[in-house]
């Protein structure tokens, strides 16, 4: 029981991670896929910050007198990761807008259908 409670954060992190993963591989609207990717990324952030937390500790900002500080290194890593995640999201959204322009849709299945129709037309023309 103590094991289950002590790892509560990590169980939820795995759930959220798999939720994001499922959205990425099962949904066809590309913006929704990017939302799923950001859910996945945020769950990784929560995992790292959970690792750095010390029970009864305080934020790693130095104060006078004795204090227990939570781990600052996980925060540093995740600050970098958050900024990189917005870069990937922005680039992904720009690609989505460009795909929408080329195909008139951002639904993966419709794009598949258009591609197959194009291929068939090329084969017929030969």
């Amino acid at each position: 029981m103590e094991f289950l409670v002590g790892h509560y954060n990590y169980w939820v992190v795995v759930f959220l991670m798999m939720l994001g993963f499922y959205v990425v591989i099962s949904r066809t609207h590309m913006v929704k896929v990017l939302v799923g990717l950001s859910v996945f990324q945020t769950s990784v952030f929560i995992f790292y910050i959970s690792l750095g937390k010390i029970r009864g500790g305080t934020a790693p900002i130095l104060i006078d007198g004795p204090a227990v500080y939570s781990n600052p290194l996980t925060s540093v890593l995740i600050l970098t990761a958050i900024v990189v995640s917005i870069a990937t999201t922005a680039l992904g959204l720009a690609l989505v807008v460009r795909i929408n322009e080329a195909y008139g849709t951002v639904d993966e299945e419709e794009i598949d259908a258009i591609e197959r129709a194009d291929e068939a037309a090329v084969l017929e023309a030969r």
Partner: protein, 184 residues
């Protein structure tokens, strides 16, 4: 009390995530992903990472929601019902999740000060930093001084992404004009 907030926020995150999976209106999905970021920012505050909470609420809740809404305005916001069966993705996700849960069981318990992560490197930063950097915030000191090359690399990533976005969208404006001109 902190434990209660922690449990409640994580439960809310899970509920938000499920709603996000189910909804088909993409505007609602994007707003829910903003709420998801806000909840996780609150969680970061309870886990002693205020810097991360600031960044997450500014970037995850602010910038990325605005970008996604902007993209939705251009590409349309109704998700169609998928025709493919979803058994394979579900199986992949359950298998991966099971492996991750198995791995997570070996992670040391949450919040224990004796965890290996707190034994190495960190004490050195906490002890030597007041003399070396003279900034009270350890996170800023590590980010901008000890590991500033990493931060410079991060800036390069942002720059590359910015250039990529500009290249992708600049063509869009030009083509738009070309298409309009013959009609005029």
């Amino acid at each position: 009390m902190t434990e209660f907030v922690d449990v409640a926020l994580l439960a809310l995150l899970a509920v938000t995530g499920l709603a996000l999976l189910k909804l088909r209106n993409l505007f609602a999905v994007v707003i829910l992903s903003g709420i998801y970021s806000l909840l996780s920012a609150g969680l970061f505050v309870t886990m002693d990472a205020p810097d991360v909470a600031f960044t997450e609420s500014a970037v995850g809740l602010g910038v990325s929601t605005v970008l996604m809404l902007g993209a939705l305005a251009l590409v349309g916001h109704e998700e169609k019902k998928p025709t493919r069966p979803r058994v394979l993705p579900l199986a992949v996700v359950i298998l991966t999740g099971a492996i991750l849960l198995y791995g997570m069981a070996d992670v040391p318990p949450f919040g224990d000060p004796n965890n290996p992560i707190h034994q190495h490197v960190t004490p050195r930063y906490l002890e030597e930093m007041p003399e070396e950097i003279e900034v009270p915030n350890v996170v800023s000191a590590v980010l901008a001084s000890y590991r500033s090359y990493d931060t410079m690399g991060e800036t390069t990533v942002i720059f590359a992404a910015g250039v990529g976005v500009l290249l992708l969208l600049a063509g869009r404006r030009r083509r738009g004009q070309d298409e309009e001109e013959p009609g005029e």
